[in-house]
């Protein structure tokens, strides 16, 4: 039997619990312990060692560190693990700002694998959409439009996600980052970014709505509304291709609040084949099993075991999406261009 990879989880909140469940399901991994400063975690993880500090857990010399901490702590955790020769799987976002991911990347070394938790790439509707796009049968992508939002959430105002010192940003950095990652996944890089953002509804330290428009480097333009004021939880990405369109709507999630995940595929009606163009027949695929958490970790383990480069959700992907967010914040006036050299970092 192949040797299992030993791992630890740093941070045992919502994501830490999800990672623990994935690790327990994955036959390739062995969980050595969990790091969290909260004493109550000890009782919540019977059967596992509990550590109050990352240093103490790293002394076990795990093969992998899963970083599931609030954004402010993620860079230091990643760097500490990478500097000790450990592979790292880090939740998104990769820190609070673009400088954080640049610093993390400085600790990357040949042979060490670093991957980020952009799990939406592994959602079934997204996988199927990618297959259709890559087949080429609907032509090239013309443009992309995305909506992603929620109605605040439980204890929304008290959440660390809305404390700028801890999170680094609001709904765009927390949730919109997934949509921007998908824009890049489908459409490649973007040359220009425009953004309006607002803090008006929740009156918090961070934005509750962001409207982002992107000019594609390869001609694929995109736009997104990321929101904490969608009273109906919404995930929707529309991809227009030359001879049809794809829509991924709904998102399989723990709560089910984003609706049943579905992929709509339709072929464009041409003028010579329909009297009334613009209302084509659609094929809808409904999905009822989310394996995204497992698939991304399986891919990460595969990269380690086969010593192959991380091609999905790599540190380059993390850097580029953080550059887009930083440029959006600057354009929206949420970040000063000269603040912490963000402008410079965004053009590296």
């Amino acid at each position: 039997m192949a040797k299992k990879l030993n791992c630890i989880i740093a941070g045992y909140g919502y994501m830490g619990e999800i990672r623990k469940a994935v690790i327990e399901r994955t036959g390739d991994l062995n969980l050595l312990g969990i790091v969290d400063p909260n004493p109550s975690v000890k009782d919540r993880v019977p059967g596992y060692r509990h550590f109050y500090t990352l240093e103490a857990a790293l002394a076990l010399k795990p093969d992998i560190v899963f970083v599931c901490t609030p954004n402010v702590y993620a860079p230091a955790c990643c760097i500490a693990a990478l500097d000790r020769g450990m592979h790292v799987f880090c939740e998104k976002p990769p820190g609070r700002n673009v400088e954080d991911i640049i610093n993390i990347r400085k600790s990357e070394k040949p042979g060490l694998k670093l991957m980020f938790g952009f799990n939406h790439r592994w959602h079934p509707g997204i996988i199927k959409a990618k297959v259709i796009i890559d087949s080429g049968r609907m032509g090239r992508i013309v443009n992309i439009r995305g909506l992603y939002g929620k109605s605040g959430g439980v204890k929304f105002k008290q959440s660390w996600r809305n404390d700028k010192n801890v999170s680094g940003g609001g709904i765009l950095l927390d949730q919109g980052i997934h949509m921007l990652d998908l824009f890049r996944f489908f459409g490649g890089d973007f040359a220009d970014v425009r953004c309006f953002a607002s803090k008006e509804f929740w009156k918090l330290d961070v934005e509750d709505n962001a409207y982002v428009i992107l000019k594609g480097a390869q001609g694929i333009d995109a736009m997104m509304h990321s929101s904490a004021t969608f009273w109906k939880h919404t995930f929707r990405i529309d991809i227009t291709l030359e001879t049809g369109y794809l829509v991924v709507e709904g998102l399989l999630s723990k709560s089910g609040s984003y609706g049943r995940e579905q992929l709509i595929v339709a072929k464009r009606q041409f003028e010579d084949e329909a009297h009334a163009v613009g209302n084509p027949s659609e094929e809808i695929t409904y999905f009822d099993r989310d394996q995204s958490w497992d698939l991304e970790v399986e891919e990460f383990v595969r990269c380690i075991k086969e010593d192959k480069p991380v091609e999905h959700a790599s540190s380059t992907d993390a850097l580029k999406v953080m550059q887009l967010i930083t440029r959006a914040y600057i354009d929206a006036g949420l970040l000063a261009p000269n603040e912490a050299n963000h402008e410079k970092h965004c053009h590296q």
């Binding site: 996988i127 027949s281 809808i284 999905f287």
Partner: protein, 331 residues
Amino acid sequence: MKNIVINEQYSQADIKPSKMIEQYIAMLSSDVDRLLANCSLENISCPACGSNENKIAFKRFSLSYHECASCASLYISPRPSDEAIASFMKAAPSKVFWREQLSEVSQQSRKAKIIKPRLEWVLDSAAEYVSNASHWVDVNTGQERYLEAMASSAFKSKTLISPYCNTPSTGFEIINGSINQVVLKTPAQMITLFEVLDHTSHPGVVLTAVNKMLDKGGLCFITTILASGFDVKELGEHAKNIYPPDRMNVFSAKGLQTLAAAHGFECLEFSTPGILDVDIVAAAINENPSIKVSAFIKDLILSSPDVRANFQDFLQANMLSSYGRMLLRKV
């Protein structure tokens, strides 16, 4: 598991011209009489779930369709052997008429509405689940349009297993044998069973053979008519798409899933993307007003095209159409 809804528009007449279908059924009746006069019959339990509890649902050409008390699949018992069915499929005048005349008349529609979508289903699923697939095996298709589509695909190896295919090899290997006797030179990553389980005497034997031929993680594509579908449920003995030996087994959705799970498969997709259920019921009632259906169904079939289309979408979304497709993965 996933399921799909296809909001496509075509009519029964596009793929099954009614006059020719009547001619086909008349020929089939004579052919089945000859078949039964020359072969022995075997009693079986439910081919889907194995239950022996059943009742006779209706008779066709002196053969009895039983309804399983456990999974509600319909199946013929007693029934001819696979060998007798294979000979029938190869040489019966009705089957030759189907292949050479009926399917030719509707070939353009079939190609666009049935074959192309199925090919896209196969290719997309291969790209999604077995991106390194090199060997595609089709069982018993024997129709030239399918073979053309299969031959044009990019897989390194393509094999057709059919005891009655006479088509010269064009880009794939043809094995004229029964699936449970075939030994492949290399394992397959994809096997297609388009309307195959419907007319095999022992579906479990076929799935066992498919499982053996597939690599671990390999895919099996199944299309079939479902007893749990709207038009079959409503029309019962009046259903014009259920005739032996083409439909020896008419599985319910539950029965088909039970059968697949019992033979080492995980279900990745179960869909009923049928387009014609409402049209089929409407046509049958128009032709034979004595068929008993509820007032609701009578109103439904007289309603506007939009209402009928919406109802058909509802059937698909809730897996209640009589055309089923299933994507299985070997575990």
